[in-house]
């Protein structure tokens, strides 16, 4: 079994996305030591992938075939633009967008150092294993070869061809025509760069995105959370059985969840600290979330609303910044949304049904089963261990201890995600048992990852000794 094509595709595609990300981060990171740049690799990769994917989505709507040549030109232009900006902008302008705190916190005791080092090594080992598994596994979710990958291949070979991307003709159009193009474009490019149709490339890409998320979360939290708390919490996420199952499953839900969770993290950091670097990252991550699946935009709005309410004391400037970031993300999706609207493509889940009280009143029997099935996925220790229950419990403990409702913000984020999916299943017309049995395990991903990235904050603030290191 040859892995050469898979490896070449990963190096070419993901290496290019990493290079673009670093070029985009060159302005804020200029002046950092080499290790500082290396520590931003996860952030750079995810930012580069978001921006390149968003631009390629626009070019697909404009009529271009999204092949490796177009990808290479876009990536090269972005690299040049990023480097030129970093070199041309004056120091004062660069300082305004530089990350406020980059120095990782140090462990206060030798024992804490050992715990942090062991957990960090564990995260690294699990990341290596995850990638190796991805190279040796074909995806199990039929959506992958049913529409995600075929759409990408079609965008590469034929472009946004109405014979395949619009219904009603004599040709067999794709399923889920309402879905945006971002993830399909990534998969189409991966497949093309592999040199042959090898579906394992889907798992490889998912593995790379998950490892990048762990690296990005570690980087963004390292200067804010004690290492003896941060690394065990990240290890808990890295070894979650459901994370591995979904990487090998191949669905887009995990990538969407990664971007939504990082949007929440960066949005919360912006509201709390006011750093433009985190605000820019929040907007970039939100832009990808809007363009991966149709459920991205409503979840993004809900999460932003919870952040906004939780940070109601921070002042108008930061609130406005958060919502400008969200608006920019939506604006980046306009080309596809306009194209979709112009061709009369509607959401698979009817919004008019989901907002119609009389329609909903006639199908209340769907609420209970949906709530139970989704709740089971959130709290089942065999999926994500007890990340979600722990976040809720720690939030309550902190709120009681400090008499501050802000502690409950992570639980509220999980709660709105949970309520959104109950509502979506309530207003849906598909057979509920089929819908839940085929999707409940993955549509909760965003809520779980938001909780997983909030967990280190809660633990760090509850444990004694905060501020010693």
């Amino acid at each position: 079994m040859s892995y050469r094509g898979l490896l070449e595709a990963a190096v070419l595609l993901d290496g290019s996305l990493l290079a673009v990300g670093y070029a985009l981060l060159a302005t804020p990171l200029r002046g950092q030591p080499l290790l500082g740049w290396v520590s931003y690799s996860g952030v750079a990769f995810l930012a580069g992938a978001s921006v390149v994917g968003v631009i390629l989505c626009g070019l697909a709507v404009a009529g271009l075939r999204i092949d490796p040549t177009v990808f290479a030109v876009v990536a090269a232009l972005l690299v040049v633009a990023g480097v030129v900006a970093a070199l041309a902008l004056p120091r004062a302008a660069r300082a305004r967008v530089a990350p406020a705190s980059t120095r990782p916190l140090r462990s206060a005791t030798p024992a804490a150092s050992v715990v942090a080092a062991a957990a960090c090594a564990g995260v690294a080992a699990v990341g290596i294993l995850l990638l190796a598994d991805a190279f040796r596994s074909s995806p199990t979710l039929d959506d992958v070869w049913g529409f995600w990958l075929p759409k990408g291949i079609a965008l590469d070979r034929l472009g946004l061809d109405p014979r395949l991307f619009l219904p009603g003709g004599s040709y067999l159009a794709f399923d889920h025509l309402d879905y945006p193009l971002w993830w399909s474009i990534m998969l189409g490019l991966s497949e093309r760069l592999t040199g042959s149709l090898d579906l394992r490339v889907v798992d490889v890409e998912l593995g790379v995105f998950v490892v990048a998320m762990l690296a990005a979360a570690a980087r963004l939290l390292a200067s804010r959370i004690r290492p003896a708390v941060l690394w065990p919490c990240l290890l808990l996420l890295a070894v979650a059985p459901e994370l591995h199952r979904q990487v090998l499953g191949g669905g887009a839900d995990l990538v969407l969840a990664i971007y939504l969770a990082l949007f929440v993290l960066c949005g919360a950091l912006w509201l709390a600290e006011g750093g433009l670097f985190e605000l820019a990252l929040a907007a970039v991550f939100a832009a990808a979330a809007v363009q991966i699946k149709t459920e991205g935009p409503p979840q993004l709005l809900l999460f932003a609303a919870v952040l906004s309410v939780a940070g109601w004391r921070v002042g108008r400037r930061r609130q406005l910044g958060l919502w400008l970031g969200v608006a920019a993300a939506f604006a980046s999706a306009l080309p596809f949304l306009v194209w979709r609207q112009a061709h009369g493509l509607r959401n698979d889940i009817s919004l008019s049904h989901a907002l119609d009280p009389s329609f909903l009143a006639g199908r209340t029997d769907r609420v209970g089963p949906a709530a139970r099935a989704l709740g089971h996925q959130l709290v089942n220790p065999h999926n994500w261990f007890l990340v979600v229950p722990a976040v809720i419990a720690l939030g309550v403990i902190g709120a009681v201890r400090d008499r501050r409702l802000l502690w409950l913000a992570p639980a509220a984020l999980v709660g709105v995600g949970y309520a959104f999916w109950i509502w979506a299943n309530w207003g849906d017309t598909m057979d509920l048992h089929f819908r839940l049995s085929t999707s409940a395990y993955r549509i909760v991903d965003a809520s779980v990852l938001v909780a997983a990235l909030a967990l280190p904050f809660l633990v760090d603030r509850l444990l004694p000794g905060r501020g010693e290191g």
């Binding site: 294993l129 995806p139 079609a154």
Partner: protein, 126 residues
């Protein structure tokens, strides 16, 4: 270095490790092909895909008695046959893929490829 060494050892000889750790290195689906629910000869579909040129149209005929098989064959043919285009009506097709099934409508066949396992690809006259 120790972490990398342990990870590589786990990949090389997963059977030597305890069950829960061994699961991290599972690789039972190590194939470039789709892994459908129904039992499908993906190799035969790949052979068929190599014969259908880009831009041609194709129809797929599958047994109506097995919805899972039918859905899996159609979706796998879709990903393998691109950039050829699928059509709903076989009479609109340049090529017809018959997966253990007969054509539902009369077609004029100019060339037939027996691909094994009851999988047949036919070049049609239009």
């Amino acid at each position: 270095m120790a972490v990398v060494a342990v990870a590589l050892a786990l990949l090389a000889v997963p059977g030597r490790f305890p069950g829960p750790i061994r699961q991290l290195a599972q690789h039972s689906l190590n194939t470039p092909d789709p892994v459908p629910t129904a039992q499908i000869d993906v190799g035969a579909l790949r052979r068929a895909a190599r014969l259908v040129p880009a831009g041609a149209t194709y129809g797929v005929v599958v047994p109506s008695t097995d919805p899972q098989l039918a859905a899996d064959v159609r979706s796998i043919a879709r990903v393998l046959f691109l950039p050829a285009l699928g059509v709903a009506d076989p009479s609109d097709a340049d090529w017809l893929l018959r997966y253990q099934a007969a054509s539902p409508v009369p077609v004029q066949v100019t060339r037939r490829y027996e691909l094994g396992n009851g999988v047949v690809l036919e070049r049609l006259r239009r």
